[in-house]
C-alpha cells in the first residue's frame, strides 16, 4: 500500500493496494498529511481524562505523588536508604525519588497504556483507515501533557526542599527528546506485540515492575555495595537507567555522582540503545500493521 506520484493525465493520487511482504518502510508523507488527526487523538485523550475529574488537573500528579511518598517512607526511612544519600541529601529523599518519577511516569504510561492502546481501540482500527502509528503515539502525547503538569509540581517540590537544578539544565530539551524517544519505542513495540500475541498483555505489568526496579527509581544504585564491571555492563543495557541518572544529574544540582548514579557511559549507551529500540519498534509495528484488522 504505497501512494505513487500523481499520474499526469488525471492529477489524482494513485494508491496501489497489494499484498506486502517483509519489512515495510515508514510512510512519512502520509504521516505528515494526517498530522491533524494526531492532534485530535491526543486532544481527545486529554479532554476525556479531565472532563469529569473532581480534582481536574491535580489528578495527574496524584499517582507519582503517591509513589513518591510510598518510596520515601518505605525505602527512604524504613529501609534506611536515605543514609546512603549522605547527610545533605538524606532528608531530600523525596526529591531524589521524584526526579526519577518524572521521566519514569512517561515511560511507564507508554509501556502500559501505549502497549494496550491497539487492543483498546480495535473498533477504530477495524472500521476506518488512518496511520496506525498514531494510536500509540497519541498515548505518549497525552502522557507528555501529564508530564508537563508534573513538572510544575516538581518545581514546587524543589523550591520546598531548597534544591537548585545544576548547569546541566541547559541539556534538558535533549534529555526530554531522548526520554520521549525511548517511551515511543516501547509504545510501538509493545502495542504491536500485544496485538500479535494474545497473552503478551499479561506480561506487561510484570515487565513494567521489573523495569522500574532495574532503573533504580525508588532507591539509589549504592544499595549494591559492590558494583563490578559486570554489573555496569548489565546496567548499561537498560536505557532508562541512563536516562533517569541524567534527569537526576540535571535536577539535583550539586549532588555527587554517587547519589545520582550518573556516568557518561550510561547516557551514551542509552542514546545508542534508544535509537535501536525506536527503529525496532517502528519497523516491527509497520511489519505487523497489515494484519491488525484481521487479528484484532
Amino acid at each position: 500500500m504505497r501512494p505513487v506520484a500523481p499520474a499526469a493525465e488525471d492529477f489524482a493520487i494513485e494508491t496501489i493496494l497489494a499484498p506486502s511482504k517483509g519489512w515495510i518502510g515508514i510512510n512519512w508523507s502520509e504521516l505528515f498529511h494526517s498530522r491533524e488527526l494526531l492532534y485530535f487523538l491526543v486532544w481527545r485523550d486529554i479532554k476525556v481524562r479531565y472532563k469529569q475529574a473532581v480534582l481536574g488537573a491535580g489528578w495527574v500528579v496524584l499517582q507519582p505523588l503517591f509513589n513518591m511518598i510510598l518510596f520515601t517512607l518505605v525505602f527512604g526511612s524504613a529501609a534506611g536508604f536515605n543514609k546512603q544519600l549522605g547527610r545533605e541529601w538524606g532528608p531530600k529523599y523525596a526529591v531524589f525519588v521524584f526526579a526519577a518519577l518524572l521521566p519514569w511516569q512517561l515511560f511507564a504510561t507508554a509501556l502500559n497504556s501505549g502497549g494496550m492502546s491497539l487492543l483498546s481501540q480495535t473498533n477504530l482500527i477495524t472500521k476506518i483507515y488512518f496511520p496506525r502509528l498514531y494510536v500509540p503515539t497519541s498515548v505518549v502525547g497525552g502522557a507528555l501533557f501529564d508530564m508537563a503538569i508534573s513538572m510544575v509540581f516538581v518545581i514546587g517540590l524543589m523550591a520546598w526542599y531548597h534544591v537548585m537544578p545544576s548547569i546541566a539544565i541547559l541539556f534538558l530539551p535533549f534529555l526530554l527528546i531522548l526520554t520521549i524517544a525511548c517511551s515511543l519505542s516501547v509504545a510501538y513495540l509493545f502495542s504491536a506485540l500485544t496485538i500479535t500475541y494474545r497473552d503478551f498483555r499479561f506480561l506487561i505489568p510484570f515487565i513494567s515492575q521489573v523495569w522500574m526496579f532495574a532503573s533504580f527509581v525508588a532507591f539509589p544504585l549504592s544499595v549494591f555495595s559492590a558494583i563490578g564491571p559486570k554489573t555496569r555492563m548489565v546496567l548499561a543495557l537498560n536505557p532508562m537507567y541512563g536516562i533517569i541518572a541524567a534527569w537526576r544529574k540535571v535536577l539535583l544540582g550539586g549532588a555527587p555522582d554517587k547519589i545520582t548514579g550518573w556516568d557518561p557511559l550510561y547516557l551514551a549507551s542509552s542514546i545508542i540503545i534508544t535509537t535501536g529500540l525506536v527503529l525496532l519498534g517502528m519497523f516491527y509495528f509497520r511489519r505487523t500493521e497489515r494484519r491488525f484488522a484481521d487479528i484484532a
Binding site: 500500500m1 488525471d10 489524482a12 494513485e14 493496494l17 485530535f40 472532563k51 472500521k127 483507515y129
Partner: protein
C-alpha cells in the same frame, strides 16, 4: 475520463483458520516453537500460505472496474464477501493476492459514529469524527454549520453524546459523514439505521451526493429499494466471487434467485377423509415469492375431496403482517362448477394487477360448502410473499406505511383564477 477511478485485478483475501496463523497465537507458544525449530518458525512467518491447513477465502479473484462518477451497487447475501471487499478498498485490511488501484481520495463509511466518544460533547465529536474520517480541521470548521443543520441537534450541541438518544446519535454521525468530500465514497449498510424519516433524509442526501455532485460511490446494502434507486450498475458477490455484474435490475433479480426457496413458500398437505386443500401457491413476478407492485400474479389452489361437496365455496384473503385482510377473492360452485365429484381440482386465480403496497403478506384460504353449511378448512398465514416497489421510481422514494395499495387514477389540472 480515460482511466477508471478504481481498478480491481484478481483480488483475493484469505483468512486462516484452524491452525490459527493469526488468531490465538500466544507468546508462550512462539517461544516454545523457537526453542524446538527456529528455522521452521522463520520460514513459516515469511510464507503463511504454505503453512496453514485451512484458508477461508473471503474473496476470490474479484475483477472489476469503476469509472469516475459511477454509482456501483454491491449486493450479496450475508457472508458473500461484501464487507471484506470494502475493507480491502478502504485499506483496513490487505489483499492476500491481486492488486487494486485507486485513483482518488477514498472515504469509507462502514459504520456511523466511528470514533465517537461518549464523554465528549456533540460539538467536540464532530471535530473528532470528522478528523478520523479524513477531514482537515479547516474543512470541518467550514462545514460545521451545515453539519449541525443536517443533524438537527442544535440545542444539544454542548451536551455529552452519552446523553443522546440513539436517533440523535445516528443523525449526528451520519451528518458528519455525509459532508465528506472524497473522490471515492464507500458506503456500507449505513442506511440500515434510524427511523423512517431519517432514512428518507439519508437517501436524499445520498442521491444528492451521487447524482448532484458526480462523486464515485460504491454502495452496499440489503435494502434493494435503495440500491435500485441510487445505482445504475451492480455487482453480485456469492461466496467471495463475482456471480453477476451489469445493470442494476438484472443483478437484483439474480440476487433474489440466490436464496434457496424455503419449502413453506408453497403450501402442501396430504389429502384426508374430508375435503382438503392439498396445495396452495402464489405465483409472483419475481422468484422466491417476491412480487413487484402492479405486476400480474396468480394464486393456484388445489383441492382434493373424497366425496362430493354441495355448493363448494373457496375464497382467499391476502393479509398484511397485522393479519388484516387486504384483498378478497372467491370462487363459488355456482359460477365455477367444482367438487361435484370426488377428485382433485385445481383453481387458478389470475390477478392482472396486484396493487398491494410494499410489505409482507400471507394468504388465508377458506374452503366451505353452501352458505350456512360446514366449514371444511381455514388456512392462515400460508404462502408468505413480499411486495416490492423495484422499477417503480418515485421522487422521494417509498416509505413504510405510506398506503395500503396503489390505485389507478387519472388527473386533470386547470387554472381557475
Amino acid at each position: 475520463m480515460s482511466k477508471p477511478i478504481i481498478s480491481i485485478e484478481n483480488i483475493s483475501k484469505a483468512y486462516y483458520i484452524g491452525r490459527a496463523m493469526d488468531q490465538n497465537k500466544t507468546f508462550r507458544e512462539t517461544l516454545a516453537d523457537i526453542a524446538h525449530a527456529p528455522l521452521r518458525r522463520l520460514r513459516e512467518q515469511a510464507a503463511p500460505t504454505t503453512a496453514c491447513e485451512e484458508a477461508f477465502w473471503a474473496l476470490r479473484e474479484v475483477n472489476f472496474e469503476v469509472n469516475r462518477g459511477e454509482v456501483l451497487g454491491l449486493v450479496g447475501r450475508n457472508g458473500a464477501g461484501k464487507s471484506t471487499l470494502l475493507k480491502v478498498l478502504s485499506r483496513i485490511t490487505e489483499p492476500t493476492e491481486g492488486r487494486a488501484v485507486l485513483r482518488g481520495r477514498v472515504a469509507s463509511l462502514l459504520e456511523v459514529g466511528t470514533g465517537f466518544h461518549p464523554e465528549l460533547t456533540g460539538r467536540e465529536n464532530i471535530y473528532l469524527n470528522g478528523s478520523i474520517l479524513g477531514m482537515k480541521r479547516s474543512e470541518i470548521q467550514r462545514k460545521f454549520d451545515q453539519i449541525v443543520a443536517f443533524s438537527e441537534i442544535e440545542q444539544f450541541l454542548d451536551t455529552p453524546v452519552k446523553r443522546y438518544s440513539s436517533g440523535m446519535y445516528v443523525r449526528l454521525a451520519f451528518a458528519v459523514a455525509a459532508h465528506l468530500e472524497p473522490e471515492i465514497l464507500i458506503v456500507d449498510e449505513v442506511l440500515a439505521v434510524g427511523d423512517a424519516q431519517f432514512q428518507k433524509r439519508c437517501l436524499g442526501k445520498m442521491q444528492e451526493v451521487t447524482q448532484g455532485q458526480g462523486r464515485t460511490v460504491i454502495f452496499v446494502s440489503h435494502n434493494m429499494q435503495a440500491v435500485s434507486t441510487l445505482t445504475s450498475r451492480c455487482i453480485l458477490l456469492r461466496k467471495g466471487r463475482i456471480a453477476a455484474a451489469g445493470p442494476t435490475p438484472e443483478v437484483i433479480s439474480k440476487y433474489l434467485e440466490d436464496s434457496v426457496a424455503a419449502p413453506d413458500l408453497i403450501y402442501s398437505a396430504p389429502p384426508g377423509d374430508e375435503p382438503r386443500i392439498t396445495r396452495a401457491e402464489i405465483v409472483t413476478s419475481e422468484s422466491n415469492n417476491v412480487h413487484r407492485n402492479c405486476e400480474p400474479a396468480r394464486v393456484i389452489i388445489e383441492i382434493t375431496t373424497p366425496k362430493p361437496i354441495n355448493g363448494a365455496r373457496l375464497s382467499f384473503h391476502a393479509c398484511n403482517n397485522l393479519g388484516e385482510a387486504m384483498i378478497y377473492l372467491w370462487a363459488h360452485d355456482g359460477d365455477y362448477p367444482m367438487c361435484r365429484e370426488p377428485g382433485t381440482y385445481r383453481l387458478t386465480c389470475t390477478i392482472p394487477k396486484l396493487r398491494l403496497y410494499q410489505g409482507n403478506y400471507t394468504l388465508r384460504i377458506h374452503l366451505k360448502e353452501y352458505a350456512g353449511g360446514r366449514e371444511f378448512q381455514q388456512l392462515e398465514g400460508i404462502c408468505p410473499f413480499e411486495v416490492v416497489m423495484y422499477g417503480k421510481d418515485r421522487e422521494g422514494g417509498w416509505h413504510q406505511g405510506m398506503c395500503t395499495y396503489l390505485e389507478d387514477g387519472a388527473w386533470q389540472v386547470e387554472r381557475t383564477a
